[in-house]
């Protein structure tokens, strides 16, 4: 049986998503919310690979755009809360 290249990318995407979500949940240094937000990106790159294998172009573009905007919103919230002296 010939292994198709996109199957490799598909399983690598699944692997990245699971590793990234474990890192976000229990990874090193996740008590800092900024580290936790960065770890989310690993999982979202895995999802991007999976969408690429499925030929979902529009969904892939939207996922990239919303990931950027969501991380901007989260950083804004984190920075504001830390400036106010809340325990995050």
């Amino acid at each position: 049986m010939v292994i198709e290249p996109f199957t490799v990318f598909f399983y690598f995407g699944i692997f990245l998503a699971i590793i990234g979500s474990i890192a976000t949940a229990w990874g090193p240094g996740v008590n800092d919310p900024i580290v936790r937000t960065f770890n989310t990106e690993v999982a979202s790159i895995g999802v991007c690979l999976v969408l690429l294998c499925y030929n979902h172009v529009l969904a892939l573009l939207t996922l990239l755009a919303t990931t950027v905007i969501i991380s901007l919103i989260l950083f804004r919230a984190i920075i504001r809360l830390e400036e106010m002296g809340a325990d995050v």
Partner: protein, 227 residues
């Protein structure tokens, strides 16, 4: 069976299992954590698990379902982060010992956008982007037009066009929903007018997405403009 390629069928089970595993990890972490901000970040992971399960369908239906899911997740994150900030502000205001700084900024230092391109070019580029977005309609057009609004909102100091006031964003959003729902209804009631229904839904979606992206630009400008 005819519409789904054979390769996608063999990828169905692994994708579903991966989605379930990611969702399980995320919900376990949410159950363990106490701080609201961390829970908000972990909610992202649940959204990723949702994308896995939906994308396993493997047809255009999956694409059509992923788009609104992502946009709703974006709006939800925006709203909840605002609620968290407001609640924390109120908590600190009621505590007499705490000193609340009146101005808080996105950037640690005063951040002024003093590039020449921010004062000369943006009017034209924003106009072109908004025009092109309206021409495209639908989701992509909304994103393009929203990019134009963000660019204009970020470069408010530019002279030329009168300053847009986007306070009526809520009203525009309501009209967009009405267009969308009417278009959706026409699809089922009178299928022979499908083109009209399609354009109603597309224009509604355009207004919706553009106003939402523009709102994010407005929020960021609030933070950046403070000296």
């Amino acid at each position: 069976m005819m519409y789904v390629p054979q390769a996608f069928i063999s990828m169905y089970l692994p994708a579903i299992y991966a989605g379930l595993i990611v969702g399980f990890i995320a919900t376990m972490a949410i159950a363990i954590k106490r701080e609201e901000l961390h829970i908000l970040i972990l909610t992202d992971l649940v959204g990723l698990a949702m994308i896995f399960v939906v994308s396993a369908v493997g047809t255009d239906l999956a694409e059509a379902l992923i788009l609104p899911g992502l946009v709703v997740e974006l709006a939800e994150t925006l709203a909840i982060s605002e609620i968290l900030i407001t609640r924390e502000m109120r908590k600190i205001e009621q505590d007499p010992r705490a000193n609340l700084k009146t101005s808080s900024s996105m950037f640690p230092q005063a951040f002024s956008l003093d590039m020449e391109i921010m004062t000369t070019a943006p009017n034209f580029i924003a106009l072109v982007l908004i025009g092109y977005g309206i021409f495209l309609t639908g989701f992509t057009g909304g994103a393009v037009a929203g990019g134009g609004i963000v660019l204009y909102a970020l470069s408010k100091k530019a002279r030329g066009l009168p300053v847009l006031i986007l306070d009526g964003v809520a009203g525009v959003s309501g009209i967009a929903w009405c267009l969308w729902i009417i278009g959706f209804l026409l699809f089922f009631v009178t299928p022979q007018y499908w083109l009209l229904a399609l354009f109603l839904a597309a224009c509604g979606l355009l207004l919706k997405v553009a106003s939402k992206v523009g709102l994010i630009g407005l929020l960021m400008r609030e933070d950046i403009d403070k000296e």
